[in-house]
């Protein structure tokens, strides 16, 4: 059941680095993160890697495995041939700190810029009433585990550092979509989505949806509907007027 596999892991820091080759034991049912842990315990005690839950729930162990953005804890070794070299490199879109750990602060900065959730008042009995069908649209986006694989794969920022200032990336476009579809939220974020978070930069190639480990349909269910709503607001005066009237009613 066990075999010796060949692993190439990028090691280095902001100043540079290279791929180092390791021969390492692989056992039945193991995932790439198990192998990285074995390297730490037996061959490279200071190999830097982020991880937490090892169950696909926290989104910490993102990396590029044979060039594809993946969670290391959810990539089974069984998906590779025994004689296949497995190459693990850090996320390319973010600056390297050390080895497989990158500086993901870009994401936290974008998150802090998003206008906060602002709920309507509770009902007289102190509750909020919402129908399941209405919460499900936003719930899909709230499944996001913030692994930032969508950010990593997005070509708008992957090799274009200059776009990071004006483009929030798919993770935060669906955050905007989530708030836009949230049954309780009272803020209109359509203008900022376009003007401050760069919605227009996305040309819906759907690469983000393909790498999402949670299977979120970022483009189809989040970004495209958000683009449509922005267009409604910008070019349809009746829709604009309607939104004002509806809001006034809600405040009554």
């Amino acid at each position: 059941m066990s075999y010796d596999g060949t692993f190439r892991v990028w090691r280095g820091d902001a100043g540079g680095g290279d791929l180092q080759t390791f021969t390492v034991e692989v056992n039945e049912g193991e995932v790439v993160l198990d192998i990285v842990h074995r390297l730490q315990a037996t061959q490279a005690g200071d190999l830097a890697v982020r991880w937490n839950c090892k169950a696909g729930k926290c989104g910490s162990c993102s990396a590029e495995i044979n060039g594809r953005p993946r969670l290391m804890c959810m990539t089974r070794m069984g998906t590779f041939a025994e004689d296949e070299t497995v190459t693990v490199t850090p996320l390319r879109t973010f600056p390297v700190i050390r080895d497989l750990v990158t500086d993901v602060s870009y994401n936290y900065e974008k998150a802090a810029q998003i206008p906060a959730f602002t709920p309507r008042a509770r009902e007289a009995d102190g509750s909020h009433r919402m129908q399941q069908v209405d919460v499900e649209r936003s719930q899909e986006f709230r499944k996001c585990i913030e692994c930032f694989l969508c950010q990593d794969t997005c070509h708008v920022i992957r090799d274009h550092e200059e776009n990071k200032a004006v483009f929030a990336g798919p993770r935060f476009l669906i955050r905007l979509a989530e708030l836009d579809m949230h049954p309780l939220d009272d803020v209109d974020r359509r203008s900022v989505a376009q003007d401050e978070f760069g919605l227009g930069y996305c040309n819906i190639t759907k690469c983000c949806s393909e790498v999402c480990p949670e299977g979120i349909h970022l483009t189809d269910n989040g970004i495209i509907p958000l683009k449509e709503r922005v267009v409604d607001r910008r070019y349809d005066p009746l829709t604009w007027l309607g939104s004002k009237i509806r809001r006034r009613r809600a405040e009554d």
Partner: protein, 599 residues
Amino acid sequence: MELERHEYDVVVVGAGGAGLRAAIEAHERGARTAVVCKSLLGKAHTVMAEGGIAAAMANLYPEDNWRVHFRDTMRGGKMLNHWRMAQLHAQEAPDRVRELEDWGALFDRTPDGLISQRDFGGHRYARLAHVGDRTGLELIRTLQQRTVALGIDVYMECTVTRLLTDENGVTGAFGYWRESGRFVAWSAPSVVLATGGIGKSYKVTSNSWEYTGDGHSLALQAGATLVNMEFVQFHPTGMVWPPSVRGILVTESVRGDGGILKNSAGNRFMFDYIPDFFRKETAETEDEADRWYEDKKNNRRPPELLPRDEVARAINSEVKAGRGTPHGGVFLDIASRRTPEYIRKRLPSMYHQFKELAEVDITAEAMEVGPTCHYVMGGVEVDPDSEAARVPGLFAAGEVAGGMHGSNRLGGNSLSDLLVFGRRAGLAAAEHAAGHPDRAPLPDDALADAARAALAPFEREGGENPYTVQHDLQQTMHDLVGIIRTEAEMEQALARIAALKERVANLSVEGHRQYNPGWHLALDLPHMLLVSECIAKAALERQESRGGHTRDDFPGPVPEWGKTNLICSRAPDGSVALTRQPLPEMPADLAEVFEEVPA
């Protein structure tokens, strides 16, 4: 010494549910507040909670109220809970859930549009507010987004290695940035520990690497006390196959939503393990158990939904008796009981987890499950109303605090615990800071000593590698201080822990200070060993079986022990001292709850 310094009113250590809720409250009470966490924001262990938040909101069962929840909690903990914590928890949990909605949380709904509630072990009524089986993610994301919206300072990937104190109490904390290895000190009159649990000292666990017991250890070293550390919860259902995923949690919701446990002979064995304590409220036949899901008035709860300690012991016994599955677990079957659509809708993460990691389709076949170290009931001894520890200015909330869950925690009561007591700790910490406007300076010698201790592993050469020592500790706790315990084994464990301490004092790490996991582990190990020693010592002392502490040599509960808490403190020579302390007496109006016939 190069040292980054900061000043705050309240420093919260840990950014899980309790830490973030404490920080939000402290901030809203006007305290300058910082959160310090070992991982990135939003990755704390709370994210792995699946089933839901227990709160007697009565959205589905109008009969439910805080007294019923209080009763369930106390009985689940075999009456060793601090009654006042259990009371506050049951009373305040509904409001804590409702306010999450004001911060953006989107729970699943009832047909009336209210927050849906699901069945769980030990709870009389469907009581867990939930989002599919990813409630912890919803909780942490909601609190994370609220924290960010309020502009609270967060020190991410930053580890606290010491609490700083003087003769009047807490003065601050010392730690290092994981990224750079550089040191940082916070001066603050109030520190809230919200560091979670201890599971990483065990080989098979549902816990993440962060669960090293550092908060327990920091508190003890600062002069605080720990209560009832012998009570460790083994969740009955962790994955058992393949080996690399052994221990990963399989949510209790599988059973709450209709799943049953079977042995290799196909028998629904839990009917053979109903203890007298719960017999009156547990179904006698499979038919009755199956009817309960739809009609709770005329039927009693299935034995699969007994409290976790009972189910974990039963599974352990079945496997030991040779009726286990090929990989040493039992079968958890929901495939034959619910439609694939229902299963995928209610348990999407479980479906995904088994499909991806074990190549098992849970809508078509049974899962293999077995006990996994999940939670520590023991923790920092705190005042129930303020979460204040015995050191002035030190507070603890969430899993790191003790008392709330007695000898065994009910599922769903953890997320509500985080919210109720996180808020109370934040409030009390802010008040304490407001009452201490004069800030004590951090003494240079204490800071220099903390820095020296942190760098020691780099000074030594040719020592052992920290991963080997961690592995040996995990094996020791797994083999000798696990679900079933005996005096001889625990004495052996204590001897091994003493030997491991010497090995830790001599280990060395390779590389340099920048993001070096080997060094980080070397600094975590002393905490893990200290907490393991507390667990083993307390477990050796308590000569009875109760909740999450089962002694093969003392198989039943002992009434006298039912009135006794075990307190760990640090003796003057640095060793762990153990004292017995009477359980606080419950007032008569609450004691009445247990006279009432279960509704």
